[in-house]
Symmetry: C2
Subunit: 208 residues, 2 copies
């Protein structure tokens, strides 16, 4: 076999170029030619790894979800530090903070994620199922963490974990958009998040 090349790595590079382009010029404006130029490869190669644009869009969407999960995990692992495993509050706080456009990378994620969301609402080719599944999984994780916290006595037992999880994640998504359009500052968004975290975990102090 000649010329060993990591196909998955190449696909990731090209998908990253799409995400970068979509963050600045829009998802619909990110054409095959522009993605190729952003990735530093030829148009022919983009066609080589992704036969169709739809295939490229789907791959980039999935990659976006993977990146988010990895970053959130890394964040609450770091938050826990050497103090044993990460507690429910650390996990939830990490997920919520990761969804806010605090820096350039997360801003890119929020923009492209919003673009995919809007596109999925009307474009049947872009399956809405995986997007919902990813978001639903995060939702379930938050709800499970709340139940754990309730069992430990850190969260008031009268709260509905599923409803609170849905409310938290929805608020986080809404706050991200609010910050993106410049309607509110990132500090305000984080303040709202912190306020509701204090409401859900009244016994513990606010970290950071």
């Amino acid at each position: 076999m000649p010329k060993r090349v990591d196909h998955d790595e190449r696909r990731r590079q090209i998908a990253d170029a799409l995400i970068r382009t979509a963050a600045t010029r829009g998802l619909h404006a990110a054409g095959m030619r522009e993605v190729a130029a952003e990735a530093g490869v030829s148009l022919r190669l983009v066609q080589y790894y992704f036969g169709t644009k739809e295939e490229l869009l789907l791959a980039a969407m999935q990659q976006l979800a993977v990146q988010f999960g990895a970053r959130a995990t890394a964040r609450f692992r770091e938050a826990a530090g050497s103090a044993g495993p990460a507690g429910p509050r650390d996990v939830i706080a990490a997920i919520l903070a990761e969804a806010l456009p605090a820096d350039e990378d997360r801003r890119t994620f929020s923009i492209v994620n919003t673009a995919y969301l809007a596109l999925s609402l009307t474009d049947p080719a872009l399956a809405i199922a995986p997007l919902v599944k990813n978001s639903g999984t995060v939702n379930d994780v938050v709800a499970a963490q709340l139940r754990t916290a309730q069992a430990a006595g850190d969260t008031p037992p009268h709260l509905d974990p599923d409803l609170e999880a849905l409310g938290l994640m929805s608020m986080s998504a809404g706050l991200a958009i609010s910050v993106l359009v410049g309607q509110s500052a990132i500090e305000q968004a984080q303040a709202v998040i912190d306020y509701h975290l204090r409401r859900l975990f009244p016994a513990e102090a606010v970290s950071r």
Copy 2:
């Protein structure tokens, strides 16, 4: 003067056709030809009333905001009924309920509004300013109503009106998207809204 025709009314009809088309096939896919067909007029007439597509997009965006305001106003006027003027809770509940895709009309609004939001993030031609201004105005109204309720003793004084208003509106927007993608049911979204309304107005009972 020959042939009296209400220009504003015609523009409204065409803009409505754009909104209807954008709700089903997407905002970027809503071309001049398709809008003309949806409105039942010729392509030439669309060009006649809106010289540019950008002009049409801006007009439809503004119309979307006007429709939302009118519907929210009508809703809390009806909620108040003959029992004098509408209270702060009625106003806030009406705004939040109006933002949820409970029926076909409101679903259309949510879809197209989300599409505009995503498009504004990357398209400089579509001024983000009016969109932020509209959303910011609603935010201020909610905050003002909260302050009024605090003065009347219906809302706990330790709450920050601005932060609560931002959180409420953001959560409402996030819930709308959650319902649109089918992640959560409209009843769940309304339950989350009701829960937070009870938190903000603990003395009053839940209406409807």
